[in-house]
């Protein structure tokens, strides 16, 4: 008998503001959180969810995760102890880079004042698993807990892996998501050197004029619970992780396979994992980075995986409103996808105006649009692809 995995809480801190509903409502209303070519969480104050001492013990990427997690657990109705034995609750938190701000600050101290000036907190703050460890300690999550690193696919990998842990019986509940805080001089310079960032500072996925991604920061966290136990405790179910698949291109360290073969395999795999067909998909939350290569190969992947259905359903990119949150993207976008499904709406791809040759899907230009679902709970695919050729795809469904 298969154990189902339901979502009982979501939380997010994004350039559109603090809160998952804020993200959903502002994106759906066509609001952009981007300013001066970046997506900064300007409304975020770490002390909303932690003491100043705790904030001092956490890199910004962990602070963002703690705030998103607090929101998600509150929505799930968990008290301090959680509804299950602590060793049956785990956490997987994805990140692209981890505490790069801490690394940069301490490297500056090293160069300026020598090795003795480097903080004893440097390692515990910058390590890639610091966010997962912070959530574990704060909420006493004593089951499987680890950080997950797969560049811009990390948030989706984390949710998929966590769902598998619940499904397999290794855990009864998991806190899963992704977090990133890379608006730092080194990260900006490094991504610029790669020609990955938009020189115009505009995120317009799938548009013919797209010229690179706009970097953002933030975190998204979901509470996953085994379906029967969630029902038994009377939890409000928001939706379900129906399926998940992960593949790799083995093609190039930064460029996607132009044919989107690996991505298509992940989309098809997630649907098969859910026991669904292409015709069951009502909405695609695209990876949609606004880079010339991704958006073209993703379009090819969607056509290859979904066939004619790809032309019938809305495909939109959250990155048009908040930029690219790297290792947090897959998690924040899963949150956005779930809330879009609950409202049966496809939020728009902001800035999409000029079709590119051969890219002819319905990218939801202009404004949000109702999903055509005839009253049944809608289903979506949420894509996340990362440098290294990693593809992680989630199939999510709204609650019945």
């Amino acid at each position: 008998m298969t154990r189902g995995v339901v979502i009982t809480g979501v939380g997010a801190v994004t350039p559109l503001g603090v809160g998952a509903r804020t993200l959903h409502e502002r994106w759906s209303a066509g609001t952009s959180g981007l300013e001066d070519g970046e997506g900064a969480c300007t409304e975020f104050d770490p002390t909303i969810a932690m003491t100043s001492k705790e904030a001092r013990r956490a890199d910004r990427f962990s602070q963002l995760a703690v705030a998103a997690c607090a929101e998600a657990l509150e929505e799930a109705g968990w008290d301090d102890d959680g509804p299950y034995p602590s060793e049956r609750i785990g956490c997987v938190l994805g990140t692209g880079i981890g505490g790069i701000g801490t690394l940069e600050a301490n490297h500056a101290k090293l160069l300026e004042s020598g090795p003795g000036s480097v903080s004893p907190l440097a390692v515990p703050l910058m390590m890639g698993n610091a966010g997962a460890a912070a959530l574990s300690m704060r909420h006493r999550l004593c089951g499987p807990v680890y950080g997950l690193v797969s560049a811009c696919a990390a948030g989706a990998h984390a949710i998929g892996d966590a769902a598998r842990l619940v499904r397999s019986g290794d855990a009864d509940a998991m806190v899963a998501g992704g977090s990133e805080a890379t608006l730092s001089p080194l990260a900006r310079a490094a991504f610029s050197a790669l020609d990955a960032l938009s020189p115009t500072g505009v995120s317009r996925p799938f548009d013919a004029r797209r010229d690179g991604f706009v970097m953002g920061e933030g975190a998204g966290v979901l509470v996953l619970e085994e379906a029967e136990q969630a029902e038994a405790r009377g939890a409000t179910v928001l939706g379900e992780v129906l399926g998940y698949a992960a593949t790799s291109d083995a093609h190039h360290i930064t460029a996607p396979d132009p044919a989107g073969t690996g991505a298509a395999a992940a989309i098809g795999g997630a649907l098969a994992d859910a026991g669904l067909q292409a015709g069951d998909v009502d909405y695609v939350n695209a990876h949609g980075t606004s880079t010339p290569l991704n958006d073209r190969s993703e379009t090819a992947a969607l056509k290859a995986a979904l066939g004619e259905r790809a032309n019938e359903i809305p495909v939109s990119s959250t990155k048009s409103a908040i930029g690219h949150l790297l290792g947090a993207a897959g998690a924040v976008e899963a949150v956005a996808t779930l809330l879009a499904l609950r409202d049966a709406v496809a939020p728009p791809t902001l800035g999409y105006e000029e079709p590119d040759e051969g890219m002819d899907l319905d990218y939801v230009p202009g404004s949000a649009r109702p999903l055509d679902v005839n009253g049944r709970p809608p289903v979506a695919i949420s894509n996340a692809f990362g440098f290294g050729g990693h593809n992680a795809v989630l199939c999510l469904g709204a609650a019945a």
Partner: protein, 83 residues
């Protein structure tokens, strides 16, 4: 490396300032306050040790830190070590 003189008063000031930077309120600090009640752990003490070394050139290692329980213990250890 600084050459501050490690008088009890001077060490106390440096240690107190370092602790306030880390978390405790200044009015919580007195010689008999334990690090446990101040919620100051080994990582915090590693930071205090760094500040102390910077000011007085005194190195406190893991064994030293594991033996001190109160703020007064820390101040005395630094003063004695600097003699």
């Amino acid at each position: 490396m600084s050459t501050d003189t490690a008088t009890p008063e001077q060490v106390e000031k440096v240690v107190y300032d370092a602790l306030v930077e880390i978390g405790p309120e200044r009015d919580q600090l007195h010689r008999d306050a334990t690090f446990e009640e101040l919620d100051v752990d080994s990582l915090d003490l590693a930071e205090v040790s760094q500040v102390v070394e910077e000011h007085f050139g005194v190195q406190l290692k893991g064994d030293d830190v594991s033996q001190i329980r109160t703020v007064g213990d820390a101040v005395d250890l630094v003063v004695n070590r600097a003699k």
